[in-house]
């Protein structure tokens, strides 16, 4: 349970970090909060030759709320985002989901952007980025590119990040007025990764839903984003139609935590629960 030796690099600026990553290429990994990387290294599931430590790079621990939405910098810890009042007012889904990411002690160090780049298919924040039409900003020595959430998550622990690139931040967009959100999940123990989790975002006006989307985690190789528009009739989600859409979209697997059947069962229950909570939230925000 000890990491293999590695060479340590401590850049003091973003430019220096990008130079190091360009020089080291595939040999290097970025160290952000380390709350996923250090356990992987201790278990020898990862043994990078070089670590580029972001923790002393100034200017990255940012949470900015604007007209477009919320922008989170690479060193914003989960807890910083969770407790940011302006972000909560703009996008309650951030806090709703973050409260279910691990334990407070892990959230004190782990970063939201790190969890996006890590790309665990059971993680909450990738689903939030998908629901809020977000994107990740990737920089390297040659420039910068924005990758939409739908293109960023490729498979289990696999994202569009290329060697030499640093994720400098992520943007979560404001949904239309009249929206409400919720994030619900079931896990074996408090703070564990979910066996299944569902985020929901609905738009309501005068009690009728005009849009409903869900994103499911733990039931596929990446977060499963699902537009329930085809199941929307008369301003409500038709449970049977929505269940059929969910069934067709997910592909849960059996592991030591849960069987595929149980995960499928959870997906159905949690979609209904998340939609009901999101609708209540939309009505409360309208009132």
């Amino acid at each position: 349970m000890k990491p293999a030796p590695f060479a340590y690099h401590r850049p003091r600026s973003l430019a220096e970090a990008l130079d190091m990553l360009a020089d080291l290429g595939e040999e290097a990994k970025v160290l952000a909060g380390g709350q996923s990387l250090v356990p992987l290294m201790s278990m020898r599931l990862a043994s990078p030759a070089h670590l580029v430590d972001l923790n002393q790079v100034p200017g990255l621990a940012t949470v900015d709320v604007g007209a477009e939405g919320v922008r989170v910098g690479a060193l914003a810890r989960h807890s910083q985002v969770e407790h940011d009042t302006a972000s909560y007012d703009a996008l309650p889904l951030l806090r709703q989901a973050l409260r279910q990411v691990a334990h407070p002690t892990i959230r004190n160090r782990g970063t939201t952007v790190g969890s996006l780049v890590h790309g665990d298919p059971a993680a909450e924040m990738p689903a939030v980025l998908m629901l809020l039409d977000g994107s990740v900003t990737l920089n390297d020595v040659n420039g910068t590119r924005d990758v939409a959430a739908t293109a960023f998550f490729k498979g289990p622990m696999e994202t569009d990040l290329r060697p030499g690139e640093l994720a400098v931040g992520a943007s979560f967009r404001r949904p239309p007025p009249g929206s409400g959100s919720a994030f619900v999940e079931v896990s074996r123990r408090h703070g564990d990764y979910a066996m299944c989790g569902v985020g929901a975002l609905v738009t309501a006006s005068e009690g009728a839903l005009s849009a409903a989307r869900v994103c499911l985690v733990g039931v596929g190789t990446r977060p499963v984003l699902l537009d329930l528009a085809p199941a929307l009739g008369d301003g409500v989600v038709d449970d049977e139609a929505s269940a059929a859409l969910v069934d067709a979209a997910i592909d849960p697997e059996t592991d030591i935590h849960a069987t595929a059947d149980y995960r499928r069962h959870l997906a159905h229950v949690l979609v209904r629960r998340a939609l009901a909570e999101a609708r209540t939230a939309a009505e409360a925000r309208a009132a």
Partner: protein, 173 residues
């Protein structure tokens, strides 16, 4: 001899310079290099909470931090949770009074976590206390007495008399 890196930490109020291999976990740096064996190492992957210390006042898993990454940081271990006169600190005293430990292996992680929690929550309910310790595992006590100790520690920290935090009443909830 493998390459080492210099890190400067403040540990329980004293400046400490260390030359460590980059892969040195903070938990091992504290225990082996600084001989502060109060910090216990359980699962070594962030789940059990036994190794929790305070970094700049905030609870973190010392097994999930590289010591090199903490240059300039201030670290408080269970040894630093004592009273200024060297006796038991309020959280330690409460654990003693409420019988909130049996084997004691997990206790250092609880003491640090609860110390930080009480700095921001002066009067936790039993439910709050339970939430505050949810990231720490104990295999002996069944948690009831730990919940009571969190409330008792809140009283002791503020010089309040013993009231809500009766272990017997905690156990019946």
């Amino acid at each position: 001899m493998r390459e080492t890196v210099r890190v400067s930490l403040t540990v329980n109020g004293s400046p400490r310079d260390l030359d460590v291999e980059p892969r040195r976990l903070l938990s091992d740096a504290l225990r082996h290099d600084l001989r502060l064996t109060g910090t216990h190492v359980g699962c070594e992957h962030g789940v059990c909470g036994a190794c929790t210390v305070l970094v700049d006042g905030t609870p973190m898993r010392s097994c999930l931090l590289f010591a090199v990454s903490l240059d300039g940081a201030s670290v408080t271990t269970v040894e630093g949770c004592r009273a200024p006169d060297g006796g038991l600190g309020p959280v330690q005293q409460a654990f003693h009074e409420c019988h909130a430990l049996q084997c004691g292996f997990c206790t250092p992680g609880f003491v640090t976590t609860v110390t930080a929690y009480l700095a921001e929550h002066a009067d936790p309910s039993a439910a709050d206390a339970r939430e505050a310790i949810a990231g720490n595992l104990c295999r002996c006590t069944g948690y009831q007495n730990i919940v009571a100790a969190v409330q008792r520690a809140a009283e002791l920290s503020q010089g309040r008399p013993s009231g809500a935090a009766d272990p017997a009443s905690g156990a019946s909830q």
